[in-house]
Symmetry: C2
Subunit: 236 residues, 2 copies
Amino acid sequence: MQLFYTPDIDAASSTYFLNEEESKHGIRVLRLQPGDEVQLIDGKGNFYTAAITDAHPKRTQLQIISVQKEFNKRNHYLHIAVAPTKNIERLEWFLEKATEIGIDEISLIISQRSERKEAKVDRLNKIITAAIKQSIKAYHPVLNEPVALSKLLARPFDGQKFIAHCEPGDKAALKDQLKTQGSYLILIGPEGDFTPKEIADAINFDFKAITLGESRLRTETAALEACFEVNFLNRV
Amino acid sequence: MQLFYTPDIDAASSTYFLNEEESKHGIRVLRLQPGDEVQLIDGKGNFYTAAITDAHPKRTQLQIISVQKEFNKRNHYLHIAVAPTKNIERLEWFLEKATEIGIDEISLIISQRSERKEAKVDRLNKIITAAIKQSIKAYHPVLNEPVALSKLLARPFDGQKFIAHCEPGDKAALKDQLKTQGSYLILIGPEGDFTPKEIADAINFDFKAITLGESRLRTETAALEACFEVNFLNRV
């Protein structure tokens, strides 16, 4: 399968031109010929089958053969808000793995104990794009710009809201709280965890405190565990 | 918590000397003083609390205060046999994450489509050791030398045996097959998957073919998904 990510494609159109970079890759590297079939994903849920009509190395023309809408659409919506890790590679791993397993939206939160207060969203987004191509996902997860935890807490969210933390206190297992086929916003703290004040604030905003098992997990592992659990519990 | 990995400790003894490297780290870096408490794990399930009696920078002496046996012992045994990834960092990432989440034994299998036929077990073992210290695990997962798939298939294993693959055919979900609180051996193939012949051989040796969900997962993600599912299903 030769899969291209084409976010600018018009679902109503019957032809499409690959951009210069993709054209070069398709014709010079993959050596595609007129008549060869390729697949396109637009990141919005459409999965296209197309054929090369003009193998131009800068402006390859495709004829759209078929469109499959809502390709492998999930039965739930998962938004994970995670503090960027000090070592950015750990966050990158999380983004790649979460994309493979299934996620809809990621927010990067800046909290009191965050050691990293910024992240290059453009660069991180490229990792997500590579992962959707590798794992053949028609939906591109949305990665939001870093946001202060206090701002995120105050934003309305139509679904279940959870905060995972390691402080003592009343916590439920995610699996005992989650209502399947719903929408979920899950907060994962930085290396030093959320502060007790942040946890209390979240609870005031109707976030439910949860635990992700007995193991002491790194930030990115906790975020991935949450992603695993949500997908697993929604698997039919 | 100042945690040291001391695999050579004698559980019956009341004193222990840190080796030269750990002594240097404890005294020169952590600046531990006589009377300070430290924790030790031996990789065999024992968790020790000890106090510094001689802050010698090459041969720090400790007095053992207490031993907790079978510290956080799991209620199951998980052995994952995975083909080393072409990019060794992906395998390293799996070993770190699986150790955090919970695993007992890892075998590296060489199969027909393996792009990598060797791996430096010593180096990989250091990653596991760092992960048990980070996540405070008293049991050190065992990492075996690379083994040919055909050899591993023929070995006796007292527990449930599974092979995860992407070929068509009769496959069950792991969650529908797994008997909790048991022992499991799960095979995960290389980037190009197992061959149909290898899958048939495994089935002849009573491995059950399984799927880990609908997503197309990379080798190391599939191995981690299996690890996650086994731990999750055994969580009480």
